[in-house]
């Protein structure tokens, strides 16, 4: 892949420096950002960025935008690891740019690429709308019509769900999952973020729908081979595989792989619990 040197600062570039001079460490970071638009050639452009103590990659990208290349596109919002907008691949690892400190990375140039599993819009910005389409396919929370409110839900019934509520929809798990990334099964595989959503609904004490067959058939749960890359990249430390996907696989096994439960259901008409 071609690597080009940073362009000279353009005359119109704002002179304002987003970094304060007080925190400068005296070091310089070589940031190699993959730039390009769909259909055009993508190329890594190298920028020299002065390092400030506590600097995160998003700071470095902002420095480039403000001082060196106003044309560079990146998506961000909170710079607090809470909005899930600034996902990118830093040195080949899917991460939040605002949560990745420069001093945690090995010395040497740092590459910043857009998420590989989603269609490119421009530079570091990708089109993640496919995720929202999947989300719409999942039947939302549905309580029994006669289950009047207000509800009093004991703590133990809701404990497991807190973890799933932490999801910030950064889609790093969707990006790293090899079924979407390498096999391109986006037409038959929901992906880890949506298994988290299904698990949170299926385990909800007040939800009455059964999404197991749908998750197996349309969601492609069986494609997941529990290799845990999603768990490794999740910035919210959600145990996606252990606490969402494997419990869903076990729930699907209750219906399709357990003759003992099958007989039990036939004899006693129970849901296998």
């Amino acid at each position: 892949m071609a690597v080009v040197d940073q362009p000279a600062p353009s005359a119109e570039a704002p002179v304002e420096n987003v970094l304060t001079a007080s925190g400068l460490t005296g070091e310089t970071l070589t940031l190699r950002v993959l730039k390009g638009v769909p259909g055009g050639e993508q190329a890594e452009v190298a920028y020299q960025v002065p390092v400030v103590s506590g600097m995160v990659i998003l700071d470095a990208v902002h420095y480039v935008q403000h001082n060196l290349d106003t044309d560079l596109a990146c998506r961000w919002n909170c710079k607090a690891a809470k909005c899930g907008s600034c996902s990118a691949e830093v040195n080949g690892h899917p991460v939040l740019m605002c949560k990745t400190r420069v001093d945690d990375l090995p010395a040497g140039p740092v590459t910043v690429h857009p998420l590989k599993s989603f269609p490119l819009i421009k530079d570091l910005v990708t089109d993640v709308s496919r995720n929202y389409e999947v989300n719409r396919q999942i039947p939302p929370f549905t309580a029994a019509p006669d289950d009047g409110t207000p509800w009093r839900i004991p703590q133990q019934d809701i404990d497991r769900l807190y973890e799933f509520r932490k999801c910030i929809e950064c889609f790093l798990c969707q990006d790293v999952c090899h079924i979407l990334r390498s096999h391109d099964y986006s037409d038959r595989f929901y992906g880890p973020r949506f298994f988290v959503r299904v698990a949170s609904l299926e385990m909800h004490p007040k939800d009455v729908l059964d999404r197991r067959d749908q998750t197996r058939d349309q969601g492609g749960l069986g494609y997941c081979n529990i290799t845990k890359c999603c768990t490794e990249v999740c910035p919210e430390h959600i145990h996606i595989t252990d606490n969402a996907i494997i419990p869903l696989k076990e729930r699907v096994a209750d219906v399709h792989w357990d003759p003992v439960r099958f007989v039990g259901r036939k004899l006693f008409g129970r849901n296998g619990d």
Partner: protein
Amino acid sequence: MSTQVTKVSPASLASAPHSGPGPIERILNSLPWWALPATVVTVLGLFGLYSVWTAFLTGGINQSGSYLSPFYSPTIWKTGPVSPALWVLGSPLLFRATCYYYRKAYYRSFFWDPPSCAVGELRHRKYRGETAFPLFLNNLHRFLFYLVLIVTGFLWYDVYLAFWAPNGHVQLGLGTGIMLVNVILLSGYTFGCHSWRHLVGGGLDCYSRSQLGQARYRAWRWVTVLNQRHPVWAWCSMFSVVIADVYIHLLRAGILIDPHIIF
């Protein structure tokens, strides 16, 4: 009404102390992506070879005094054309082969599906994951759990027997300790199983309105504690089985003498 003013000094704006990744994490991060798969292939391959050797090529039952090797327990048929280990090895080996953790390990290391995260896969054939034969049989893991429960019961009984010297006195030997540690590690592995976690309580949506809901909730939490370290239990128990077996082989061959106290 008085207005409170918060003073911000440069010191309070200084970036928070940051230790970053620890030394072990830094070493792990610096390893090439193939280091972990290569290690898993080597260790699991050696374990497979060792199992075949000890079960079928060493002749007779690996037993010395009151110590019985976990590869041969429970001893169902003592004589016959094939090794007695054949009848008991199947369920623990299949239990491990269908274990969610070992699945991850071999899909990554042997199948390269994927070899590591965010690394391109080498073979781009039609991927079927666990949706088709034979890998969908992994869904039967819970039934192997039931079988292994029985085997684990026998292993605890073997440890009980290991506390008795052949002359009927209570003994405390190095072998007793090895067998005890082994069965504790095996139990930690077995009772941290994901299928077991689902069966004891994970499959319930509402504990407060289910039969035995409180007890199942508590059981689920305990199993979760073991489950969180399931890979550690998996590796440690695999090594402890081999260590126990090697130790009994050495006793049997007269190479070692078991240090012990008889009461």
